[in-house]
């Protein structure tokens, strides 16, 4: 039975959502298992904060079980002893699985992340492209190199790093899972995937896709978890490598833990990227291309060009053009409409940035100017999940 989400505060209906998506089982060791104490978390459509589903949430014993399943799958095989070509074949089949369930994944990601839909379609399409690209590398990657040594005959081999804990953020959950999962599986690693507790639903679909593609039990395990339980994954002695994408604050914590244990780790963290406009640039060409890159995914993208550097002589022209372009960005609520800005999970992002914001609710949308030496803001990001696009002079 269809259920219609209520009107948003702006009076715009978001449209019908099918029955609540219920995912009460974790994927561990090739089996769908209840989490300890049957824990679940509500998954919401962030724009209205209405529930769209429910997902199993792992506790410490579930994480331990998942790590042990991955460890056994790595140590006892067969996955870590298959050939690159055999693993590539599984990746390709998973890519076909993504393609077959593309509409479902797009809809799911749009709903649970609240992303503008035009960014979600490419994210899902790229997942398949990325699987195929990695499968292609099986033939060319230098798995073993014969080299003349200085004193000996030398073979340089590349062995899988082992059991990987992959921790993924909520802003591009599928998109940021693939650059961990694809190389890990191609090289023969096994994986405990910890999707974000806010947006875990995509990961269950991914597990089903890999299961159907013939991935052996225990090679991929899916355990959504909160931060406290996630730390159990980071600390777990049977994990060989942690790959984390998220905030610099949490990344630093993960690095400390891994450092103590001589555990391998990779961190993809925050940014404050500068776009330098050179004085010979044609603003009419540049601004329409640059403006969307300053705040894609409602500003919730690590590589957004959040500082625009303008030659002083053209400063006013840049601010004016940027403000005009950004003011025209559509801000919407319908899961299926094109828009630039939909969600700000401000509860998280504001606390992560530790930014002090000064709301100026009487200002119109668009941009705000410096007043009395302090910036003013037209979007009270700290108090609302819905943020209007804002530019500011600094």
């Amino acid at each position: 039975m269809d259920r219609t989400l209520s009107e948003t505060p702006k009076g715009t209906p978001v449209g019908a959502v099918h029955e609540l998506i219920e995912r009460d089982f974790l994927y561990i060791g090739g089996e769908w298992v209840k989490p300890e104490n049957g824990r679940t978390t509500d998954v919401i459509y962030p724009f209205t904060e209405e529930p769209i589903g429910r997902a199993a949430l792992a506790g410490p014993s579930d994480v331990d079980r998942a790590v042990r399943a991955a460890r056994a799958a790595f140590d006892d095989g067969p996955w870590s002893r298959t050939t690159p070509a055999e693993r590539a074949a599984i990746l390709r089949r998973a890519g076909e699985g993504i393609e077959a369930r593309m509409e479902e994944l797009i809809r799911l990601t749009t709903l649970e992340v609240g992303s503008p839909i035009q960014g979600v379609g490419p994210q899902v399409a790229v997942a398949k492209i990325f699987l195929d690209w990695h499968a292609d590398q099986a033939d060319t990657y230098p798995w073993e190199e014969e080299r003349p040594g200085i004193f000996s005959s030398l073979l340089v081999r590349r062995e899988p790093v082992g059991v990987v804990g992959a921790i993924v953020p909520w802003n591009f959950p599928l998109g940021l899972t693939m650059p961990k999962l694809c190389p890990a599986l191609l090289t023969g690693c096994t994986v405990v995937l910890k999707p974000p507790e806010e947006t875990p639903l995509y990961a269950f679909v991914l597990a089903e896709i890999f299961e159907e593609a013939g991935l052996p039990p225990g090679v991929l395990n899916v355990v959504p978890a909160d931060r406290t339980v996630s730390e159990e994954l980071v600390k777990h002695p049977l994990i060989d490598k942690i790959s984390f994408t998220g905030s610099t604050h949490v990344g630093s914590r993960i690095g400390s833990i891994c450092g103590e244990q001589i555990k391998r780790f990779a961190l993809e963290l925050g940014g404050k990227s500068a776009a330098i406009i050179v004085e010979d640039a044609d603003l009419e060409t540049v601004i329409p291309k640059l403006a969307p890159e300053t705040m894609r995914n409602s500003g919730q993208r690590c590589i957004n060009q959040t500082r625009v550097l303008a030659p002083r002589g053209q400063y006013d022209a840049v601010v004016e053009a940027l403000a005009a372009t950004i003011s025209a960005f559509p801000v919407g609520t319908r899961p299926n409409e094109r828009r630039s800005s939909a969600r700000s999970s401000a509860k998280r992002s504001a606390s992560a940035s530790r930014a002090t914001l000064h709301p100026a609710p009487n200002k119109g949308p668009g941009w705000s100017s410096e007043e009395a030496g302090r910036p003013t803001w037209n979007a009270a990001i700290s108090s609302s999940r819905r943020s209007s696009p804002t530019s500011t002079t600094a």
Binding site: E146, T248, A274, T306
Partner: protein, 112 residues
Amino acid sequence: MTIAQEEIFGPVVAVIPYDGEDEAIGIANDSAYGLAGSVWSADPDRARSLARRVRSGNMGVNQAMLELGGPFGGFKGSGLGREYGVEGIDGYVELQQVTSPASEPLTSELRD
């Protein structure tokens, strides 16, 4: 200023004036982060020269998009390690050297 230094993770952009290329590079690099960036110019060679001076892992010239076939990652506080590209695969392997006396050359098992 907070807005020009910290990651806000919302739809907010700071516009900062500069005098001359050196100051532009100075401002771009005055950050605890080094993840991405871009240079926009009618002269791509000039833009590329500027891009090389920014301490950041991912620079665009007249665009600001990632090439997923190449290594992606951050300088400075933006991270450690690289994802995507062949270098992204390198992150999931341990290197092992197997040796034998120079008179007994080793050959790969994977070689046909």
